[in-house]
């Protein structure tokens, strides 16, 4: 395969990944690395660099739409960004020294978790009744627009949320993904933010976290322009078109299919990790 052919195939694969990622709410990032390594036999370090770039593109593109609707909580997001950026820099620096087979296996496990989350999306649950100590100190309570006007909500569990966000950051830097599933878990379950607020705030944070990781990868020479180009343009095109379709249709079947695809990729990443296919 010459460069032109590879560029076209990677572009088409990335359009599909971005489209499915945006329809299912998982983001295209989780499938880019398996796609590039398992299908196109790209070195996993180049694959992670290209994936990070696409994560920033989709996050910033989607966030542009969300901030105007007034859902995201900038205070919560910015405070937790301290944890995710430190985590992302840690993860990116660790990735440089970790054997590639370990990265592949960890990636597979995170993929399995993502498949599970995608198959069984989190339920709405009662929001916090009162404000936690740290949340009150940091004035994190907010309000978001509903059909019945502005609805106020309380925030709690800041220390646990902060810890989980560090882990999300490490995984983002290590694997080149947005870690959206863990971010939503932290804000949704631990901090008790309303679902709409936690998903949009998570999306805003994904871009900042990925930028921290991407900075380290860029300065280490892990981001190859020839490979990142079709991935970035493809995922961006796919996710933007996915957003338009999403406004019209609910997609339970597609969600199940995508979960199965992700689970299959996860198993293959883990098997390849153990058989040493990544270690060269």
């Amino acid at each position: 395969m010459n460069t032109l052919e590879l560029t076209i195939f990677v572009f088409l694969g990335s359009v599909a990944a971005g489209f499915l990622g945006s329809l299912t709410g998982l983001g295209g990032g989780v499938v880019i690395v398996p796609l590039l390594t398992l299908v196109f036999h790209v070195d996993i370090r180049y694959a992670i660099g290209a994936s990070l770039v696409s994560v920033i593109a989709t996050s910033s593109g989607a966030a542009a739409a969300y901030v105007r609707e007034g859902y995201s909580n900038i205070r919560v997001g910015m405070f937790l960004e301290i944890a995710t950026t430190i985590g992302a820099i840690t993860g990116a620096l660790v990735a440089v020294h970790l054997p590639l087979s370990y990265i592949a296996i960890i990636f597979g496990l995170v993929l399995l978790y993502s498949a599970y989350i995608s198959y069984r999306p989190p339920k709405e649950h009662p929001v916090a009744g009162k404000t936690g100590r740290f949340a009150s100190l940091l004035r994190m309570d907010g309000a978001f627009p509903t059909a019945q006007g502005m609805q106020e909500y309380h925030v709690q569990g800041v220390p646990i949320g902060f810890g989980l966000m560090y882990v999300a950051g490490v995984l983002s830097g290590l694997l080149g993904i947005g870690s959206g599933a863990i971010k939503v878990l932290a804000m949704d379950r631990a901090m008790r933010l309303p679902f709409k607020v936690s998903t949009t705030t998570s999306n805003f944070m994904i871009g900042v976290t990925a930028a921290a990781s991407a900075g380290v990868y860029l300065s280490r020479g892990y981001i190859d322009p020839g490979l990142a180009m079709p991935v970035m343009l493809g995922v961006l095109l796919g996710s933007v078109s996915g957003t338009y379709v999403l406004a019209k249709a609910r997609v339970p079947l597609l969600r199940t299919v995508f979960s199965l695809v992700i689970a299959a990729l996860a198993v293959e990443m883990i098997v390849n990790g153990f058989t040493g296919r990544f270690s060269h």
């Binding site: 010459n2 460069t3 032109l4 560029t7 590039l36 196109f40 790209v42 070195d43 180049y46 770039v53 920033i56 593109a57 996050s59 910033s60 593109g61 542009a64 739409a65 901030v67 007034g70 995201s72 900038i74 205070r75 919560v76 910015m78 405070f79 301290i82 950026t85 992302a88 820099i89 990116a92 004035r139 309570d141 907010g142 309000a143 978001f144 502005m150 871009g207 900042v208 990925a210 930028a211 990781s213 991407a214 900075g215 380290v216 860029l218 300065s219 280490r220 020479g221 892990y222 981001i223 190859d224 322009p225 020839g226 490979l227 990142a228 180009m229 079709p230 970035m232 343009l233 961006l236």
Partner: protein, 129 residues
């Protein structure tokens, strides 16, 4: 910003952030696209090399070197400049948020946001530009 009393000021901030993000992504994608045309015209027929990791040369790693490369119209440099603009977009958003919190005299969050900005600049290797 996301305080219970959603004022006109908050709306204005949200609008500016939305415009900033959209402009950043569109600009980045356009520069990458232009670079892609140069790149494919020059290297389209060459064999690929991604199976073996070599790491990028220094001129594609550092901000000032990427700028020089792009201005010299090197295809890979132009794409890398587009990617750099993309990475800089969330950073610009954080930088703008510092101003927004300053305007609100919310000093706790001015500090929080400055810490995040410093971490981002650290990751980009700000002191060896």
């Amino acid at each position: 910003m996301s305080s219970p009393q959603n004022t006109a000021q908050d709306k204005r901030v949200d609008e500016i952030i939305g415009t900033l993000l959209r402009t950043g992504v569109i600009l980045a994608a356009s520069v990458v696209f232009v670079g892609a045309i140069f790149y494919l015209a020059r290297y389209g027929g060459s064999p690929t090399h991604y199976g073996v990791f070599q790491g990028e040369p220094t001129d594609l790693r550092q901000v000032s070197a990427i700028l020089r490369d792009a201005l010299a119209l090197h295809a890979r440099g132009i794409i890398q400049l587009g990617l750099l603009i993309l990475i800089a977009t969330p950073v610009a958003r954080v930088a703008f948020t510092v101003f927004a919190f300053t305007y609100e005299r919310d000093w706790t969050y001015v500090i929080v946001t400055l810490v995040v900005l410093a971490l981002l600049l650290y990751s980009l290797g700000a002191w060896h530009l």
